[in-house]
Protein backbone atom coordinates (compact mmCIF):
# COMPACT_ATOMS: atom_id res chain seq x y z
CA UNK A 1 0.00 0.00 0.00
CA UNK A 2 1.41 3.39 -1.02
CA UNK A 3 1.48 6.46 1.16
CA UNK A 4 -1.85 8.23 1.25
CA UNK A 5 -2.38 11.58 -0.45
CA UNK A 6 -4.03 14.35 1.62
CA UNK A 7 -7.21 13.87 -0.41
CA UNK A 8 -7.19 10.12 0.24
CA UNK A 9 -6.68 10.79 3.93
CA UNK A 10 -9.69 13.13 4.13
CA UNK A 11 -11.87 10.68 2.21
CA UNK A 12 -10.75 7.78 4.41
CA UNK A 13 -11.70 9.84 7.44
CA UNK A 14 -15.14 10.59 6.01
CA UNK A 15 -15.62 6.91 5.25
CA UNK A 16 -15.29 6.03 8.95
CA UNK A 17 -18.65 7.68 9.80
CA UNK A 18 -17.44 8.52 13.30
CA UNK A 19 -19.92 9.26 16.08
CA UNK A 20 -19.01 12.90 16.74
CA UNK A 21 -21.10 15.28 18.86
CA UNK A 22 -20.70 19.05 18.85
CA UNK A 23 -22.96 21.66 20.47
CA UNK A 24 -25.31 18.86 21.54
CA UNK A 25 -25.81 17.51 18.03
CA UNK A 26 -24.38 14.62 16.05
CA UNK A 27 -22.20 15.86 13.21
CA UNK A 28 -22.48 13.67 10.13
CA UNK A 29 -20.45 15.64 7.58
CA UNK A 30 -17.61 16.31 10.01
CA UNK A 31 -14.89 16.59 7.38
CA UNK A 32 -16.61 19.71 6.02
CA UNK A 33 -17.67 21.21 9.34
CA UNK A 34 -16.09 24.69 9.65
CA UNK A 35 -15.06 24.11 13.29
CA UNK A 36 -13.51 20.73 12.59
CA UNK A 37 -12.07 21.10 9.10
CA UNK A 38 -9.05 23.24 10.10
CA UNK A 39 -7.85 20.43 12.36
CA UNK A 40 -8.29 17.94 9.52
CA UNK A 41 -6.20 20.24 7.31
CA UNK A 42 -3.43 20.04 9.91
CA UNK A 43 -3.46 16.27 9.85
CA UNK A 44 -3.61 16.30 6.05
CA UNK A 45 -0.41 18.35 6.06
CA UNK A 46 1.42 15.34 7.53
CA UNK A 47 0.48 13.54 4.30
CA UNK A 48 1.08 16.48 1.98
CA UNK A 49 4.64 17.16 3.12
CA UNK A 50 5.45 13.44 3.04
CA UNK A 51 4.80 13.49 -0.69
CA UNK A 52 7.16 16.39 -1.36
CA UNK A 53 10.78 15.49 -2.16
CA UNK A 54 12.06 18.61 -0.43
CA UNK A 55 10.69 17.36 2.90
CA UNK A 56 11.23 13.65 2.44
CA UNK A 57 14.34 13.48 4.62
CA UNK A 58 12.29 14.43 7.65
CA UNK A 59 8.83 13.17 6.72
CA UNK A 60 9.71 9.66 5.58
CA UNK A 61 11.58 6.81 7.22
CA UNK A 62 12.41 3.23 6.34
CA UNK A 63 10.35 0.66 8.19
CA UNK A 64 12.45 -1.79 10.17
CA UNK A 65 9.63 -4.29 9.69
CA UNK A 66 9.24 -4.17 5.92
CA UNK A 67 12.13 -2.12 4.56
CA UNK A 68 9.56 0.10 2.82
CA UNK A 69 9.39 3.89 2.91
CA UNK A 70 6.76 4.96 5.43
CA UNK A 71 5.51 8.16 6.96
CA UNK A 72 7.74 8.93 9.95
CA UNK A 73 4.65 9.24 12.12
CA UNK A 74 4.26 5.44 11.94
CA UNK A 75 7.98 4.73 12.41
CA UNK A 76 9.76 3.00 15.29
CA UNK A 77 12.90 5.02 15.95
CA UNK A 78 15.99 3.09 14.93
CA UNK A 79 18.74 5.53 15.97
CA UNK A 80 19.44 8.74 17.82
CA UNK A 81 19.36 10.42 14.42
CA UNK A 82 15.81 9.14 13.95
CA UNK A 83 14.86 10.68 17.28
CA UNK A 84 16.33 14.02 16.23
CA UNK A 85 14.63 13.90 12.83
CA UNK A 86 11.33 13.38 14.60
CA UNK A 87 11.84 16.67 16.47
CA UNK A 88 12.85 18.47 13.29
CA UNK A 89 9.83 17.08 11.44
CA UNK A 90 7.59 18.37 14.20
CA UNK A 91 9.16 21.81 14.02
CA UNK A 92 8.57 21.81 10.28
CA UNK A 93 4.91 20.91 10.69
CA UNK A 94 4.42 23.54 13.39
CA UNK A 95 5.85 26.09 10.96
CA UNK A 96 3.56 24.99 8.13
CA UNK A 97 0.35 24.93 10.20
CA UNK A 98 0.92 27.40 13.05
CA UNK A 99 -1.00 24.87 15.07
CA UNK A 100 -1.01 21.52 16.80
CA UNK A 101 -1.07 18.98 13.96
CA UNK A 102 -2.12 16.12 16.25
CA UNK A 103 -0.40 13.11 14.71
CA UNK A 104 2.39 12.86 17.32
CA UNK A 105 0.36 11.08 19.98
CA UNK A 106 0.04 7.92 17.89
CA UNK A 107 3.73 7.94 17.02
CA UNK A 108 4.66 8.31 20.68
CA UNK A 109 2.23 5.55 21.66
CA UNK A 110 3.62 2.98 19.22
CA UNK A 111 7.19 3.75 20.25
CA UNK A 112 6.36 3.35 23.94
CA UNK A 113 4.41 0.14 23.41
CA UNK A 114 7.13 -1.36 21.26
CA UNK A 115 9.57 -1.76 24.15
CA UNK A 116 7.01 -2.31 26.91
CA UNK A 117 5.32 -5.22 25.09
CA UNK A 118 8.75 -6.77 24.50
CA UNK A 119 9.72 -6.47 28.15
CA UNK A 120 6.35 -7.79 29.33
CA UNK A 121 6.79 -10.85 27.13
CA UNK A 122 10.28 -11.45 28.54
CA UNK A 123 8.99 -11.36 32.09
CA UNK A 124 5.56 -12.93 31.70
CA UNK A 125 5.89 -15.23 28.68
CA UNK A 126 3.06 -13.40 26.89
CA UNK A 127 2.97 -12.70 23.14
CA UNK A 128 2.04 -9.03 23.17
CA UNK A 129 5.09 -7.91 21.19
CA UNK A 130 4.34 -10.07 18.15
CA UNK A 131 0.71 -8.98 18.24
CA UNK A 132 1.78 -5.40 18.45
CA UNK A 133 4.29 -5.69 15.59
CA UNK A 134 1.57 -7.14 13.38
CA UNK A 135 -0.65 -4.19 14.20
CA UNK A 136 2.21 -1.75 13.66
CA UNK A 137 2.83 -3.20 10.23
CA UNK A 138 -0.84 -2.59 9.42
CA UNK A 139 -0.54 1.06 10.50
CA UNK A 140 2.59 1.52 8.40
CA UNK A 141 1.33 -0.22 5.29
CA UNK A 142 -2.02 1.57 5.31
CA UNK A 143 -0.42 4.89 6.34
CA UNK A 144 -2.95 5.39 9.12
CA UNK A 145 -3.35 7.94 11.89
CA UNK A 146 -3.54 6.46 15.37
CA UNK A 147 -4.68 8.39 18.41
CA UNK A 148 -2.54 7.61 21.44
CA UNK A 149 -5.16 7.72 24.19
CA UNK A 150 -3.78 7.93 27.71
CA UNK A 151 -5.53 10.50 29.91
CA UNK A 152 -8.52 9.18 31.84
CA UNK A 153 -10.98 11.62 33.44
CA UNK A 154 -9.72 10.24 36.83
CA UNK A 155 -12.63 11.33 39.06
CA UNK A 156 -11.50 11.69 42.69
CA UNK A 157 -7.70 11.99 42.37
CA UNK A 158 -7.22 10.89 45.97
CA UNK A 159 -8.61 7.43 45.19
CA UNK A 160 -7.07 4.63 43.12
CA UNK A 161 -9.04 3.47 40.07
CA UNK A 162 -10.63 0.45 41.74
CA UNK A 163 -11.96 2.56 44.64
CA UNK A 164 -13.64 5.21 42.49
CA UNK A 165 -17.40 5.51 43.17
CA UNK A 166 -17.84 5.26 39.40
CA UNK A 167 -15.07 3.05 37.98
CA UNK A 168 -15.84 4.30 34.48
CA UNK A 169 -13.72 7.39 35.14
CA UNK A 170 -10.83 5.10 34.21
CA UNK A 171 -10.97 2.89 31.11
CA UNK A 172 -11.24 -0.64 32.38
CA UNK A 173 -12.07 -4.20 31.45
CA UNK A 174 -15.67 -5.13 32.23
CA UNK A 175 -15.56 -8.59 30.69
CA UNK A 176 -12.97 -11.13 29.56
CA UNK A 177 -14.17 -13.51 26.89
CA UNK A 178 -12.60 -16.34 24.92
CA UNK A 179 -12.28 -14.07 21.90
CA UNK A 180 -11.33 -10.80 23.59
CA UNK A 181 -12.19 -8.19 26.19
CA UNK A 182 -14.96 -5.64 26.65
CA UNK A 183 -13.89 -2.20 27.86
CA UNK A 184 -15.74 0.80 29.27
CA UNK A 185 -14.75 4.33 30.28
CA UNK A 186 -13.46 7.46 28.63
CA UNK A 187 -10.29 9.28 27.62
CA UNK A 188 -10.21 13.05 28.04
CA UNK A 189 -8.43 15.81 26.09
CA UNK A 190 -7.87 13.51 23.12
CA UNK A 191 -5.86 15.47 20.61
CA UNK A 192 -6.79 14.63 17.04
CA UNK A 193 -9.14 11.85 18.13
CA UNK A 194 -11.74 12.70 15.49
CA UNK A 195 -9.02 12.77 12.82
CA UNK A 196 -7.75 9.28 13.54
CA UNK A 197 -8.35 5.93 11.88
CA UNK A 198 -7.30 3.98 14.96
CA UNK A 199 -7.20 4.40 18.72
CA UNK A 200 -4.38 3.06 20.89
CA UNK A 201 -5.42 3.01 24.55
CA UNK A 202 -2.88 3.00 27.39
CA UNK A 203 -3.31 3.29 31.18
CA UNK A 204 -3.02 6.80 32.56
CA UNK A 205 -1.10 6.05 35.79
CA UNK A 206 1.09 3.35 37.28
CA UNK A 207 -1.44 0.81 38.51
CA UNK A 208 -1.22 -0.92 41.89
CA UNK A 209 -2.62 -4.12 43.32
CA UNK A 210 -6.38 -4.13 42.94
CA UNK A 211 -6.22 -2.09 39.74
CA UNK A 212 -5.59 -5.03 37.41
CA UNK A 213 -8.70 -4.38 35.31
CA UNK A 214 -7.48 -0.84 34.72
CA UNK A 215 -4.00 -1.93 33.54
CA UNK A 216 -5.16 -2.33 29.97
CA UNK A 217 -3.73 -1.39 26.61
CA UNK A 218 -5.35 -2.15 23.28
CA UNK A 219 -6.10 -0.79 19.84
CA UNK A 220 -9.40 -0.52 18.04
CA UNK A 221 -10.73 1.22 14.95
CA UNK A 222 -11.87 4.78 15.63
CA UNK A 223 -15.32 3.78 14.44
CA UNK A 224 -15.59 0.64 16.57
CA UNK A 225 -19.07 0.01 17.91
CA UNK A 226 -19.53 1.84 21.20
CA UNK A 227 -16.90 4.54 20.58
CA UNK A 228 -18.11 8.13 20.42
CA UNK A 229 -16.57 11.60 20.61
CA UNK A 230 -17.74 14.81 22.25
CA UNK A 231 -15.88 17.64 20.58
CA UNK A 232 -14.04 20.10 22.81
CA UNK A 233 -14.68 23.82 22.60
CA UNK A 234 -11.88 26.29 21.99
CA UNK A 235 -11.55 29.95 22.75
CA UNK A 236 -13.21 32.05 20.00
CA UNK A 237 -14.18 28.87 18.12
CA UNK A 238 -17.46 30.22 16.76
CA UNK A 239 -15.54 32.81 14.78
CA UNK A 240 -14.96 29.89 12.41
CA UNK A 241 -18.72 29.83 11.79
CA UNK A 242 -18.72 33.42 10.59
CA UNK A 243 -18.63 33.99 6.87
CA UNK A 244 -15.20 35.59 6.99
CA UNK A 245 -11.62 34.43 7.25
CA UNK A 246 -10.02 37.55 8.74
CA UNK A 247 -11.15 37.36 12.35
CA UNK A 248 -10.15 33.71 12.82
CA UNK A 249 -6.46 34.56 12.57
CA UNK A 250 -5.47 31.14 11.28
CA UNK A 251 -8.10 30.24 8.74
CA UNK A 252 -6.84 26.97 7.36
CA UNK A 253 -5.40 25.23 10.40
CA UNK A 254 -6.31 24.47 13.99
CA UNK A 255 -6.07 21.92 16.76
CA UNK A 256 -8.64 19.53 18.07
CA UNK A 257 -9.47 17.80 21.33
CA UNK A 258 -12.36 15.54 22.24
CA UNK A 259 -13.76 13.47 25.07
CA UNK A 260 -13.63 9.92 23.77
CA UNK A 261 -16.20 7.54 25.24
CA UNK A 262 -16.00 3.73 25.33
CA UNK A 263 -19.41 2.23 25.92
CA UNK A 264 -18.77 -1.51 26.26
CA UNK A 265 -16.41 -1.78 23.30
CA UNK A 266 -15.30 -5.25 22.28
CA UNK A 267 -11.58 -5.72 21.54
CA UNK A 268 -10.32 -9.03 20.12
CA UNK A 269 -7.27 -10.53 21.86
CA UNK A 270 -5.03 -9.88 18.86
CA UNK A 271 -5.37 -6.15 19.60
CA UNK A 272 -4.77 -6.35 23.35
CA UNK A 273 -1.24 -5.37 24.46
CA UNK A 274 -1.62 -5.23 28.24
CA UNK A 275 -4.21 -6.99 30.32
CA UNK A 276 -3.65 -6.79 34.05
CA UNK A 277 0.17 -6.59 34.12
CA UNK A 278 0.19 -3.75 36.64
CA UNK A 279 3.98 -3.82 37.03
CA UNK A 280 4.43 -2.65 33.42
CA UNK A 281 1.78 0.07 33.45
CA UNK A 282 4.16 2.61 35.01
CA UNK A 283 6.82 1.99 32.37
CA UNK A 284 4.26 2.48 29.60
CA UNK A 285 3.07 5.76 31.11
CA UNK A 286 6.61 7.04 31.61
CA UNK A 287 7.78 6.11 28.13
CA UNK A 288 4.77 7.52 26.32
CA UNK A 289 5.06 10.69 28.40
CA UNK A 290 8.80 10.84 27.76
CA UNK A 291 8.40 10.59 23.99
CA UNK A 292 5.60 13.13 24.09
CA UNK A 293 7.63 15.55 26.20
CA UNK A 294 10.35 15.29 23.55
CA UNK A 295 7.72 16.01 20.86
CA UNK A 296 6.96 19.40 22.34
CA UNK A 297 10.59 20.40 21.78
CA UNK A 298 9.72 20.32 18.07
CA UNK A 299 6.05 21.15 17.51
CA UNK A 300 5.80 24.13 19.86
CA UNK A 301 9.06 25.48 18.48
CA UNK A 302 7.58 25.45 14.99
CA UNK A 303 4.52 27.35 16.16
CA UNK A 304 6.88 29.66 18.05
CA UNK A 305 8.64 30.38 14.75
CA UNK A 306 5.31 31.51 13.30
CA UNK A 307 4.56 33.71 16.33
CA UNK A 308 8.00 35.30 16.30
CA UNK A 309 7.56 36.00 12.60
CA UNK A 310 4.14 37.51 13.23
CA UNK A 311 5.51 39.73 16.01
CA UNK A 312 8.34 40.92 13.76
CA UNK A 313 5.84 41.71 10.99
CA UNK A 314 3.58 43.58 13.41
CA UNK A 315 6.56 45.69 14.46
CA UNK A 316 7.42 46.30 10.82
CA UNK A 317 3.85 47.31 9.94
CA UNK A 318 3.77 49.62 12.97
CA UNK A 319 7.02 51.25 11.82
CA UNK A 320 8.96 50.29 14.95
CA UNK A 321 11.08 47.41 13.67
CA UNK A 322 14.29 49.36 14.18
CA UNK A 323 13.59 50.31 17.79
CA UNK A 324 16.24 48.73 19.97
CA UNK A 325 13.79 47.38 22.55
CA UNK A 326 11.76 45.71 19.79
CA UNK A 327 14.88 44.07 18.37
CA UNK A 328 15.81 42.93 21.85
CA UNK A 329 12.36 41.38 22.40
CA UNK A 330 12.58 39.50 19.12
CA UNK A 331 16.03 38.24 20.17
CA UNK A 332 14.62 37.12 23.52
CA UNK A 333 11.76 35.27 21.84
CA UNK A 334 14.21 33.56 19.50
CA UNK A 335 16.52 32.67 22.38
CA UNK A 336 13.65 31.06 24.29
CA UNK A 337 12.38 29.22 21.24
CA UNK A 338 15.79 27.84 20.29
CA UNK A 339 16.38 26.78 23.90
CA UNK A 340 13.27 24.62 23.62
CA UNK A 341 14.56 23.16 20.36
CA UNK A 342 17.93 22.47 22.01
CA UNK A 343 16.17 20.46 24.71
CA UNK A 344 14.26 18.44 22.11
CA UNK A 345 17.48 17.66 20.27
CA UNK A 346 19.48 16.99 23.44
CA UNK A 347 17.12 14.31 24.73
CA UNK A 348 17.18 12.77 21.25
CA UNK A 349 20.94 12.66 20.82
CA UNK A 350 21.35 11.29 24.35
CA UNK A 351 18.81 8.55 23.60
CA UNK A 352 19.52 4.85 23.98
CA UNK A 353 18.86 1.66 22.10
CA UNK A 354 16.48 -0.41 24.18
CA UNK A 355 16.75 -4.19 24.58
CA UNK A 356 13.69 -4.44 22.31
CA UNK A 357 15.77 -2.86 19.54
CA UNK A 358 14.06 0.55 19.33
CA UNK A 359 15.59 3.85 20.41
CA UNK A 360 14.28 5.86 23.32
CA UNK A 361 14.92 9.44 24.39
CA UNK A 362 16.88 10.39 27.50
CA UNK A 363 14.14 10.66 30.11
CA UNK A 364 15.72 13.35 32.27
CA UNK A 365 16.36 15.69 29.35
CA UNK A 366 12.92 15.01 27.84
CA UNK A 367 11.33 16.05 31.12
CA UNK A 368 13.53 19.14 31.31
CA UNK A 369 12.42 19.90 27.75
CA UNK A 370 8.75 19.74 28.65
CA UNK A 371 9.24 21.67 31.88
CA UNK A 372 10.64 24.54 29.82
CA UNK A 373 7.73 24.18 27.42
CA UNK A 374 5.37 24.85 30.34
CA UNK A 375 7.00 28.27 30.69
CA UNK A 376 8.73 29.66 27.61
CA UNK A 377 5.75 29.80 25.20
CA UNK A 378 3.97 31.96 27.79
CA UNK A 379 6.87 34.42 27.78
CA UNK A 380 7.12 34.30 23.98
CA UNK A 381 3.39 34.99 23.80
CA UNK A 382 3.70 37.85 26.28
CA UNK A 383 6.45 39.46 24.22
CA UNK A 384 4.41 38.98 21.03
CA UNK A 385 1.45 40.74 22.65
CA UNK A 386 3.78 43.47 23.88
CA UNK A 387 5.10 44.08 20.37
CA UNK A 388 1.67 43.79 18.71
CA UNK A 389 0.08 46.42 20.91
CA UNK A 390 -3.46 46.62 22.24
CA UNK A 391 -5.00 46.73 18.77
CA UNK A 392 -4.85 42.96 18.54
CA UNK A 393 -7.73 42.80 21.03
CA UNK A 394 -9.57 46.06 20.27
CA UNK A 395 -9.62 45.91 16.49
CA UNK A 396 -12.95 46.21 14.65
CA UNK A 397 -14.33 43.14 12.93
CA UNK A 398 -14.00 41.94 9.35
CA UNK A 399 -17.64 42.93 8.84
CA UNK A 400 -16.78 46.51 9.82
CA UNK A 401 -13.87 46.58 7.43
CA UNK A 402 -16.10 45.26 4.64
CA UNK A 403 -18.91 47.70 5.35
CA UNK A 404 -19.44 50.40 2.75
CA UNK A 405 -19.82 53.18 5.31
CA UNK A 406 -17.61 52.10 8.21
CA UNK A 407 -14.92 50.32 6.20
CA UNK A 408 -13.19 53.46 4.94
CA UNK A 409 -13.10 54.81 8.50
CA UNK A 410 -11.50 51.62 9.77
CA UNK A 411 -8.98 51.76 6.93
CA UNK A 412 -8.20 55.42 7.65
CA UNK A 413 -7.44 54.91 11.33
CA UNK A 414 -5.85 51.47 11.29
CA UNK A 415 -3.16 52.47 8.85
CA UNK A 416 0.41 51.70 9.84
CA UNK A 417 3.42 52.22 7.61
CA UNK A 418 2.42 53.71 4.28
CA UNK A 419 3.24 50.72 2.11
CA UNK A 420 1.36 48.17 4.26
CA UNK A 421 -2.26 47.45 3.32
CA UNK A 422 -4.48 47.73 6.39
CA UNK A 423 -5.92 44.29 5.71
CA UNK A 424 -2.44 42.73 6.04
CA UNK A 425 -1.82 44.55 9.30
CA UNK A 426 -5.12 43.25 10.61
CA UNK A 427 -4.34 39.71 9.41
CA UNK A 428 -1.07 39.60 11.32
CA UNK A 429 -2.61 41.03 14.47
CA UNK A 430 -5.42 38.45 14.28
CA UNK A 431 -2.84 35.69 13.91
CA UNK A 432 -1.09 36.89 17.07
CA UNK A 433 -4.47 37.03 18.81
CA UNK A 434 -5.24 33.48 17.61
CA UNK A 435 -2.01 32.09 19.00
CA UNK A 436 -1.93 33.99 22.27
CA UNK A 437 -5.56 33.95 23.39
CA UNK A 438 -7.72 32.61 20.57
CA UNK A 439 -8.32 29.10 19.27
CA UNK A 440 -4.59 28.60 18.62
CA UNK A 441 -3.76 29.36 22.26
CA UNK A 442 -5.31 26.05 23.23
CA UNK A 443 -2.38 24.40 21.51
CA UNK A 444 0.33 26.96 22.06
CA UNK A 445 -0.33 27.86 25.68
CA UNK A 446 -2.55 25.53 27.71
CA UNK A 447 -1.45 22.42 25.83
CA UNK A 448 2.15 23.52 26.47
CA UNK A 449 1.30 23.63 30.16
CA UNK A 450 -0.76 20.46 30.58
CA UNK A 451 -0.17 18.36 27.47
CA UNK A 452 2.08 15.32 27.99
CA UNK A 453 1.61 15.85 31.70
CA UNK A 454 1.29 18.94 33.87
CA UNK A 455 4.42 20.66 35.24
CA UNK A 456 4.49 18.73 38.50
CA UNK A 457 4.63 15.43 36.63
CA UNK A 458 7.90 16.51 35.03
CA UNK A 459 9.31 17.74 38.31
CA UNK A 460 8.72 14.35 39.87
CA UNK A 461 10.62 12.71 37.00
CA UNK A 462 13.39 15.30 37.19
CA UNK A 463 13.75 14.73 40.94
CA UNK A 464 13.89 10.98 40.43
CA UNK A 465 16.73 11.22 37.91
CA UNK A 466 18.63 14.22 39.17
CA UNK A 467 21.43 12.17 40.77
CA UNK A 468 21.48 14.50 43.76
CA UNK A 469 23.78 12.30 45.84
CA UNK A 470 26.45 12.60 43.17
CA UNK A 471 26.08 16.36 43.20
CA UNK A 472 26.47 16.41 46.98
CA UNK A 473 29.61 14.31 46.73
CA UNK A 474 31.01 16.71 44.14
CA UNK A 475 30.36 19.65 46.46
CA UNK A 476 31.92 17.80 49.40
CA UNK A 477 35.04 17.07 47.39
CA UNK A 478 35.47 20.67 46.27
CA UNK A 479 34.72 22.09 49.74
CA UNK A 480 36.89 19.42 51.38
CA UNK A 481 34.03 18.40 53.68
CA UNK A 482 35.22 15.93 56.33
CA UNK A 483 38.89 16.87 56.08
CA UNK A 484 40.58 17.52 59.47
CA UNK A 485 40.96 21.23 60.09
CA UNK A 486 44.06 22.58 61.75
CA UNK A 487 43.34 25.80 63.57
CA UNK A 488 47.01 26.42 64.17
CA UNK A 489 47.66 26.92 60.45
CA UNK A 490 45.24 29.82 60.24
CA UNK A 491 47.03 33.16 59.87
CA UNK A 492 45.69 36.66 59.67
CA UNK A 493 45.96 38.24 56.20
CA UNK A 494 48.92 40.53 55.79
CA UNK A 495 48.05 44.04 54.67
CA UNK A 496 49.35 44.81 51.22
CA UNK A 497 50.92 48.21 50.90
CA UNK A 498 49.83 50.61 48.12
Amino acid sequence: MALKTPEEFVQSLADLHLQIYLFGEKVDDYVNHPLIRPSINCMAMTYELAAMPEYEDLMLATSHLTGEKINRFTHIHQSAEDLAKKVKMQRLLGQKTGSCFQRCVGMDAVNALYSVTWETDQARGTDYHERFKKYLRYLQEEDLVADGAMTDPKGDRSLPPHQQPDPDVYVHIVEKRDDGIVVRGAKAHQTGACNSHEIIVMPTIAMREGDEDFAVSFSCPANAEGVSYIYGRQSCDTRKLEETDLDVGNMRFGGQEALMVFDDVFVPWEHVYMCGEIEFSGALVERFAGFHRQSYGGCKVGVGDVLIGAAALAAEYNGVARASHIKDKIIEMTHLNETLFSCGLACSYEGVKMPAGNWQIDMLLANVCKQNITRFPYEIARLAEDIAGGLMVTMPSAQDLADEKIGPIVEKFLVGTCDTPVIDRMRVLRLIENLTLGAGAVGYRTESLHGAGSPQAQRIMIARQSNLNHKKELAKAIAEVGKPWEKSRVKKPTAVAG
Binding site: E119, G357, D362, H470
Partner: protein, 102 residues
Amino acid sequence: MKVVYCGGCNPHIDREAVAADLPQDDPDVPRGATVHVSGCLRACASDHQLVAEGDGRAGAGAEGASAGPERPPVIVVAGELVDGVPTPSSELAAAVTRKLKE
Protein backbone atom coordinates in the same frame (compact mmCIF):
# COMPACT_ATOMS: atom_id res chain seq x y z
CA MET B 1 38.06 -9.87 30.58
CA LYS B 2 37.89 -6.34 29.24
CA VAL B 3 36.15 -3.49 31.06
CA VAL B 4 35.13 -0.44 29.00
CA TYR B 5 34.18 2.65 30.99
CA CYS B 6 32.09 5.61 29.91
CA GLY B 7 33.57 9.05 30.50
CA GLY B 8 32.06 9.31 33.98
CA CYS B 9 30.30 12.71 33.82
CA ASN B 10 27.06 11.58 35.48
CA PRO B 11 27.68 8.49 37.59
CA HIS B 12 24.61 7.12 39.36
CA ILE B 13 26.70 4.12 40.41
CA ASP B 14 30.28 3.56 41.57
CA ARG B 15 31.71 2.28 38.30
CA GLU B 16 35.11 1.40 39.71
CA ALA B 17 33.54 -0.61 42.53
CA VAL B 18 31.46 -2.58 40.03
CA ALA B 19 34.53 -3.34 37.96
CA ALA B 20 36.57 -4.28 41.04
CA ASP B 21 33.97 -6.84 42.09
CA LEU B 22 33.95 -8.62 38.73
CA PRO B 23 35.63 -12.05 38.63
CA GLN B 24 39.32 -12.08 37.75
CA ASP B 25 40.89 -15.12 36.06
CA ASP B 26 37.75 -17.16 36.57
CA PRO B 27 37.83 -20.26 34.31
CA ASP B 28 34.00 -20.16 34.03
CA VAL B 29 34.09 -16.76 32.36
CA PRO B 30 34.63 -17.12 28.62
CA ARG B 31 37.84 -15.64 27.26
CA GLY B 32 37.43 -12.31 25.52
CA ALA B 33 34.37 -11.27 27.50
CA THR B 34 33.68 -7.54 27.66
CA VAL B 35 31.79 -5.52 30.25
CA HIS B 36 30.70 -1.99 29.34
CA VAL B 37 30.29 0.07 32.50
CA SER B 38 28.36 3.33 32.15
CA GLY B 39 27.54 5.50 35.13
CA CYS B 40 24.03 6.33 33.96
CA LEU B 41 21.25 5.21 31.66
CA ARG B 42 22.72 7.04 28.67
CA ALA B 43 25.04 4.06 28.22
CA CYS B 44 27.92 5.96 26.60
CA ALA B 45 30.38 3.08 27.16
CA SER B 46 28.36 0.87 24.82
CA ASP B 47 27.57 3.60 22.31
CA HIS B 48 24.12 4.25 23.82
CA GLN B 49 22.99 0.64 23.59
CA LEU B 50 21.46 -0.99 26.66
CA VAL B 51 22.23 -4.41 25.18
CA ALA B 52 25.42 -4.76 23.18
CA GLU B 53 25.14 -5.22 19.47
CA GLY B 54 26.65 -8.51 18.39
CA ASP B 55 26.42 -10.14 21.78
CA GLY B 56 26.12 -13.84 21.10
CA ARG B 57 23.99 -14.88 24.05
CA ALA B 58 20.47 -16.01 23.32
CA GLY B 59 17.94 -13.52 24.61
CA ALA B 60 20.41 -10.67 24.59
CA GLY B 61 17.94 -8.15 23.30
CA ALA B 62 15.58 -8.47 20.37
CA GLU B 63 18.41 -8.74 17.85
CA GLY B 64 21.18 -10.36 19.90
CA ALA B 65 20.50 -13.91 18.86
CA SER B 66 21.60 -13.32 15.29
CA ALA B 67 25.24 -12.77 16.22
CA GLY B 68 26.08 -16.43 16.73
CA PRO B 69 26.77 -18.39 19.90
CA GLU B 70 30.54 -18.67 19.42
CA ARG B 71 31.23 -14.99 20.13
CA PRO B 72 32.34 -14.02 23.64
CA PRO B 73 29.74 -12.36 25.86
CA VAL B 74 29.37 -8.60 26.04
CA ILE B 75 27.49 -7.26 29.06
CA VAL B 76 26.22 -3.71 29.42
CA VAL B 77 25.94 -1.97 32.77
CA ALA B 78 24.21 1.43 32.46
CA GLY B 79 23.46 2.95 35.85
CA GLU B 80 21.24 0.50 37.65
CA LEU B 81 20.57 -1.58 34.55
CA VAL B 82 22.31 -4.76 33.46
CA ASP B 83 21.52 -5.48 29.81
CA GLY B 84 18.45 -3.30 30.25
CA VAL B 85 17.17 -5.11 33.35
CA PRO B 86 16.72 -2.97 36.50
CA THR B 87 19.26 -4.10 39.10
CA PRO B 88 20.08 -2.47 42.48
CA SER B 89 23.57 -0.97 42.51
CA SER B 90 24.70 -3.33 45.28
CA GLU B 91 23.90 -6.32 43.03
CA LEU B 92 25.35 -5.07 39.74
CA ALA B 93 28.65 -6.98 39.88
CA ALA B 94 26.92 -10.20 40.96
CA ALA B 95 24.38 -9.88 38.15
CA VAL B 96 27.11 -9.30 35.59
CA THR B 97 29.08 -12.26 36.91
CA ARG B 98 26.04 -14.51 36.61
CA LYS B 99 25.51 -13.40 33.03
CA LEU B 100 29.17 -13.91 32.15
CA LYS B 101 28.93 -17.51 33.30
CA GLU B 102 25.62 -18.30 31.57
